[in-house]
């Protein structure tokens, strides 16, 4: 049998044509299997629901996220940290931009100049801590009310967290509470808690300041040059620590570099 003979024989086996309905059946199969287009998932109603959920989560995590606080000024400051030999390699300077909101300092921006890695690490850690605290806050409130209702435990009324004035005299992660905001502002920066005393008056960056000094346990003293005109913003702040020989050593000093009015 030649190749041609074999080819002729093989050609005797004809294949039928597929049924005309095959295309329609495939179309039906495609309609069933086709993944739902994204636009159908994102209906207007679902988009609104998603946006509302995001806003709710943001408000829980950060209740002040959408409150727009307008400051009439900001102050650029530089902090010098006088570290001993054990502080080699650690940040020695901090740059801050901040303002006072009714007696309490609000940080707008900060950095360790020339140390981007340390800056990023600390910012990440601060953000994580802040987020954790904000997330825990609603549960703490629920727990408090639960005990009040169940055991009749009434806790003494507490001042809200924002009743206290805060300053950042050295680092962005170590705010210090210095007393009640209302009392501080209404007394032209003469009153902070903890036995502070007015030790003088000075002019810093053309602003009249009240110099307040507070000793913590005798081994540390905080001195603030607070400007009544700037809602008691500390245009200068120093921290001294007592040495074994009884002398005072300057460990940090914050100085205003520039006051930006209507930033």
């Amino acid at each position: 049998m030649t190749d041609t003979d074999l080819d002729d024989l093989l050609n005797a086996w004809l294949a039928p044509s597929p049924d005309e309905s095959l295309r329609e059946r495939l179309q039906a199969g495609i309609a069933v299997r086709r993944p739902r287009p994204v636009r159908r998932l994102l209906t207007p109603l679902r988009l609104w629901a998603m946006a509302a959920t995001v806003i709710l989560v943001v408000l829980i995590v950060n209740p002040d996220a959408f409150s727009k606080k307008v400051s009439t000024y900001t102050v650029d400051s530089e902090v010098t940290l006088h570290r001993g030999p054990e502080g080699v390699g650690l940040p020695q300077r901090v740059l801050m931009t901040s303002y006072n909101d009714a007696g309490t300092e609000v940080l707008r921006a900060w950095s360790f100049p020339d140390q981007p890695v340390e800056t990023a690490l600390l910012k990440t850690r601060m953000l994580a801590n802040d987020t954790r605290e904000r997330l825990a806050r609603p549960f703490e409130k629920i727990a408090k009310y639960y005990y009040i209702v169940k055991y009749g435990l009434a806790t003494p009324p507490e001042d809200p967290d924002d009743a206290y004035a805060i300053v950042y005299p050295n680092r962005p992660d170590t705010p210090l509470l210095i007393g009640k905001r209302a009392a501080l502002v209404s007394s032209d920066c003469r009153t902070i808690h903890g036995g502070a005393e007015v030790i003088g008056h000075d002019v810093v960056m053309n602003y009249a300041t009240t110099i307040l000094q507070q000793r913590n346990g005798g081994a540390r003293k905080l001195t603030l040059w607070m400007a009544p005109e700037l809602s008691c913003f500390a245009l200068r702040a120093t921290i001294h620590e007592m040495q074994p020989d009884g002398s005072w050593k300057l460990v940090s000093e914050k100085k205003a570099l520039k006051v930006n009015v209507n930033p």
Binding site: W13, A15, P18, G29
Partner: protein, 165 residues
């Protein structure tokens, strides 16, 4: 991916290939449908940068056909011819067609797939090698063995030979 456009371009070839591998038009239609729906699956393995679509489709048809053949082999019944089976009603041509069909279907799968693509679909051997993941030499030798087997099986139908019946 426009599956219907691909269907229009390739379904006839795929159907014939599946039909000749399985011997069943119904199975061939199912296989062609499954093959195109496979393209819509998120885990579809088709990669346009690695192989032309025709090779991928033929490979899928082949795999689906072999699956069905194996499933069928586990069942006792053998595939039935598509046409009439009564000897009284069979013409000479349909008898010859049935004989060729039987001869091709009884070839080992490795030979029948090469023969179908080479003889019936007239694909170049290099493309067959791509579709079946073989080297060219293997394709040639399988084709030769397939043709030798068919020569023997169909000897009695050779035009220049006497019938042995």
């Amino acid at each position: 991916m426009d599956v219907l456009r691909l269907f229009d371009e390739h379904h006839a070839l795929l159907f014939r290939f599946a039909y000749r591998l399985t011997g069943s038009a119904a199975d061939a239609e199912d296989i062609v449908q499954v093959c195109f729906l496979e393209l819509l699956r998120p885990e579809c393995t088709y990669d346009a940068t690695r192989a032309p679509i025709r090779a991928w489709l033929l490979g899928t048809v082949r795999n689906q056909s072999l699956k069905r053949l194996r499933r069928r082999a586990e069942a006792p019944a053998l595939p039935q011819p598509a046409g009439p089976t009564s000897p009284e009603r069979e013409t000479l041509r349909s008898e010859l067609e049935a004989a060729v069909r039987k001869a091709v279907l009884t070839l080992p799968e490795t030979q029948s797939e090469v023969l179908i693509l080479a003889h019936y679909e007239q694909l170049p051997l290099a493309e067959i090698a791509d579709i079946l993941n073989l080297d060219l030499g293997a394709v040639k030798s399988r084709l030769q063995r397939a043709r030798a087997s068919l020569r023997e099986a169909l000897a009695e139908y050779a035009p220049n030979l006497e019938r042995k019946s």
